[in-house]
């Protein structure tokens, strides 16, 4: 499989994971952890050797444990099955259910070993919240209220997990980049940037450059492009 094709498979699997996560009422951080575990695993494992949908379901169950979100394995199996097989009847308790559940349960240990039990990841979410909070004091309150920068940035961060660049950039950088991109899409400018000695984002991260920001934004746009291609060629 070409790497382009592989990226598309991963996009679909992450979309399925997010859909299942939504139905399970997962918060953003556990979902981010699940996606990161998924990408981390496929950095070192070949797609042809594994069923990515099983890996995806297992990532959700593992992430729930890591982030102390109490979700029953039973529910994860049922919801993932339903998400994957929209046209089939819901899973009955029986051979298939127990087999799927057993697969996820034993796959958990497998994933843990493959990741050397390193399943705690620093996420951009907390940085994003703090940065947005700081920025809100710089921008005119009325403008900040009218332009949904926060929602856009948060959504972009969530979407960013459809691609694997969360593994390649520190969380602070990703947080700045999504804000930068969100401001750009809304045509909003942080006041007084012309006269300021430092750009707003330089305050948040010392080792960040415009090149890095642009690099992350390009990756985001590539990911959104892929979504367009996928939806135009149907699921």
């Amino acid at each position: 499989m070409s790497s382009d094709n592989e990226a598309r498979v991963h996009f679909r699997v992450i979309r399925y994971m997010h859909e299942a996560g939504l139905k399970l009422h997962l918060q953003s951080v556990p979902l981010a952890t699940a996606s990161t575990i998924y990408h981390r695993f496929f950095r070192q494992a070949a797609l042809k050797d594994f069923d990515p949908y099983l890996i995806g379901a297992t990532c959700i169950s593992l992430a729930c444990k890591v982030e102390e979100e109490s979700v029953r394995l039973r529910d994860i199996v049922n919801v993932c099955y339903r998400t994957l097989h929209k046209n089939k009847a819901p899973l009955e308790i029986g051979e298939t259910f127990w087999a799927l559940r057993e697969s996820v349960a034993s796959c958990e240990l497998f994933l843990l070993r493959a990741l050397k039990f390193k399943v705690v990841f620093p996420h951009p979410h907390k940085y994003l919240v703090h940065y947005l909070r700081a920025l809100s004091d710089w921008v005119e309150p009325k403008v900040w209220e009218e332009v949904p920068v926060c929602r856009t940035a948060w959504a972009m961060l969530r979407d960013s997990y459809h691609s694997s660049f969360c593994l390649d950039h520190p969380p602070e950088h990703v947080a700045v980049a999504v804000i930068y991109f969100a401001l750009l899409t809304h045509g909003l400018e942080v006041p007084c940037q012309k006269y300021a000695k430092k750009k707003w984002w330089q305050v948040f991260s010392k080792d960040l450059s415009l090149d890095i920001i642009q690099d992350i934004i390009t990756k985001l746009m590539t990911m959104y492009d892929m979504e367009n291609q996928l939806s135009s060629s149907s699921r």
Binding site: L54, R72, R101, V104, L109, F110, L112, R113, A114, V119
Partner: protein, 369 residues
């Protein structure tokens, strides 16, 4: 499904066969502990087996918590996790895979040392033990982690006298928000009154109560309050620390079990009086009094405890190095001979709770109070 068990799939997780087991040295919350040696480097380590049997919910969350927490905690007074090993599925483990946590080896545990009458701690050495213990607690609490199983057997001491908090099998992260944690934690004899009364929104103070019990044990050489039921434990606590009542502990009446459990009334607080028989040092008694405070919001925290005069007046804390160098045998509670032939009642077991005592069944303690 991946072809589990096949070579080459686990590039990062070494096999347990790189170690040679030397002896069983203990029983942890969820598995056995072995002393072992790295076949190549000859390094001596402790290996803790993670029980995976009957895990319908997948990898046990308690084990994952312990691993997660130990990966983050790196401090001189916290046991050091070296790596995680696996054992291949084989007939002897009924084709279930097993996981081992590999720790640096510590020669003794505090319960083992205290049960050996030949081991004598001077006041300065007790100060060093408590200073390191509180320092460990200060570190984990500032990292927002609760230990939840403080007891002498979980305090390890290396042959050079360095103290390490161990067994994070019940530990978890905490937040300052309102929480609903399980109150089925901490071995009964070291369990603080708020847990016994059903509090679920507890915090770091629970570990300091255990620290107080351990501190007293440095002199008494046996756990100070050996209740055999929750009710009995509360009675013992009341007899030592005074009656549990809203006058000394505002809000206690709101705890679930306050009205449901029979609490002794009218007891006076006698911490200093009763411990004076064992502890002559006034500063020590004062710190004990502050650690064994009923109301968790008034109990001393690890930072203030470290600033207590006990640690800053003569004799100053002294390294255990010299004293321990006189003993060349490992002392673990698990391996220790019975302390004294005074039978105590078996501690009752309740489902889902901490293992009964973690003590050797032959082990007897002389009750202190």
């Amino acid at each position: 499904m991946p072809k589990a068990g096949e070579e080459g799939y686990y590039p990062f997780c070494p096999d347990e066969s790189k170690y040679e087991k030397l002896a069983k040295i203990g029983q942890g919350t969820f598995g056995e502990v072995f002393k072992a040696r790295d076949k190549k480097t000859k390094n001596v380590v402790a290996m803790k087996k993670v029980l995976m049997e009957n895990e319908k919910e997948g990898f046990p969350i308690t084990a994952l918590r312990e691993i997660k927490i130990l990966q983050v905690l790196k401090n001189d007074n916290i046991v050091n996790l070296l790596e995680i090993c696996r054992a291949k599925p084989a007939p002897y483990n009924r084709y279930k895979s097993t996981v081992y946590l590999v720790f640096e080896f510590c020669e003794h545990d505090l319960a083992g040392l205290l049960s050996n009458p030949q081991v004598k701690f001077s006041l300065a050495e007790i100060k060093k033990v408590m200073q390191q213990l509180l320092n460990g607690l200060y570190y984990i609490h500032s990292n927002k982690i609760l230990h939840r199983d403080m007891k002498a057997a979980n305090i390890l001491i290396t042959k050079t006298g360095r103290l390490k908090l161990a067994d994070f099998g019940l530990a978890r992260a905490f937040s300052d928000k309102l929480n609903r944690y399980t109150n089925r934690v901490v071995t009964l004899w070291y369990r603080p009154p708020e847990l016994l009364l059903g509090e679920r929104n507890y915090g770091p103070a629970i570990d300091l109560w255990g620290g107080g019990c351990i501190m007293a044990e440095m002199w008494t050489r046996s756990p100070i309050m050996q209740g055999n039921t929750e009710q009995h434990q509360l009675t013992l606590i009341s007899q030592l620390c005074g009656a549990i009542a809203p006058e000394v502990w505002p809000g206690v009446e709101k705890l679930d079990l306050f009205t449901k459990i029979e609490l002794p009334k009218g007891d006076k607080r006698k911490v200093k009086e009763r411990l004076h028989k064992f502890v002559k040092d006034q500063y020590a008694l004062d710190l004990l009094d502050k650690l064994l405070t009923l109301d968790p919001s008034k109990r001393v925290n690890s930072d203030d405890a470290l600033n207590h005069d006990f640690f800053w007046v003569d004799p100053l804390p002294q390294d255990l190095n010299n004293m321990l160098s006189r003993h060349n045998k490992s002392m673990f509670e698990y391996l220790a001979p019975p302390r004294r032939r005074v039978p105590i009642h078996q501690q009752p077991q309740h489902p889902g709770a901490v293992r009964p005592t973690g003590h050797n069944p032959d082990q007897h303690f002389e009750p202190i109070f």
